[in-house]
Amino acid sequence: MSRQSNRTTDNKKMNSELFTLTYGALVTQLCKDYENDEEVNKQLDKMGYNIGVRLIEDFLARSSVGRCHDFRETADVIAKVAFKMYLGITPSVTNWSPAGDEFSLILESNPLVDFVELPDNHNTLIYSNLLCGVLRGALEMVQMAVDVRFAQDTLRGDNVTEIRMKFIKRIEENLPAGDE
């Protein structure tokens, strides 16, 4: 064979363009299937949730991260370990609320939107809304109810992409009946 393949084949890493493009194809399909952007946002969040619920297991198994003791630690793990591991980026954690129950993730670059331009007629579409669902679903599996939403998005003309996360409550573990 004349053509040499010189691609690296790190075990768990893969070409992120495949992921980006596949995600794009999904959003395109959803925009075709649903009439308005709100519905698309909702569907993306739901799919993200389903992913998050499973992804957390993969994450815990591979990252040897133990239980977080407070929300600040959670924020650190999400930004420095989880985002790094799955998307190859490290968002910065800022804008803590005084009570320490709310913070922002600032994404310098968002791999999901690498080749994306939003057309004018989709100005309420939250393109990367899947991420919110993923974060919500994953944290729910470690007994944390969290509200996640996009506060800013470069796709819609903001300077940065900001994901706002708000701790709602700790989910009590359901003890089996008669086990108290």
């Binding site: 596949t22 999904l26 992804l55």
Partner: protein, 157 residues
């Protein structure tokens, strides 16, 4: 660099979503073609990115070799295990350990669900070939997971 798990979960959600959206008569066919179409679009985009530094292809076989080696390695991190052709426009690509099936089963269990997990990839190949100027029909078959065969039928223009 994204992580592989992410793509696999996304792919699963894709299948789940399309499957739910298409309930009713001949739902299976439509579900598969919808997935295939998404794959087609992704394949087109990918090949554009992958071939920007490669030399021009000599002929159809050269294109197929590229798909089996470089393209497959980029997407599934392994090469196609076996490429066969009748030299009349039919190619059979065999992958003995297809990445999207390895998590599913290693035998005959869930065999009836396998087509859904292959449709996207069929589209991927068709889209890639299309952008290299080769029109084709791509189908897949599985007899024992996780091995599968993709059949590429080149359409003469």
């Amino acid at each position: 660099m994204a992580d592989e798990a992410l793509f696999q979960f996304l792919h699963n959600e894709l299948i789940q979503y399309v499957n739910n959206a298409e309930s009713g008569e001949n739902e299976n066919g439509r579900c598969v073609s919808k997935l295939e179409n998404m794959g087609f679009r992704v394949g087109q985009g990918l090949i554009e990115r992958f071939t920007k530094d490669t030399a021009r292809f000599k002929d159809e076989l050269d294109v197929m070799k590229f798909i089996c080696k470089d393209f497959w390695t980029c997407v599934f991190k392994k090469q196609i295990d076996n490429l066969r052709t009748n030299h009349q426009g039919i190619y059979v690509l065999q992958d003995n350990k297809f990445r999207l099936l390895t998590q599913l089963s290693a035998g005959k269990q869930y065999l009836e669900h396998a087509p859904k997990y292959l449709a996207f990839t069929c589209g991927l190949v068709r889209g890639g070939l299309y952008n290299l100027g080769v029109k084709s029909i791509v189908t897949a078959e599985v007899s024992v997971m996780p091995a599968c065969k993709f059949q590429v039928m080149i359409q003469k223009i």
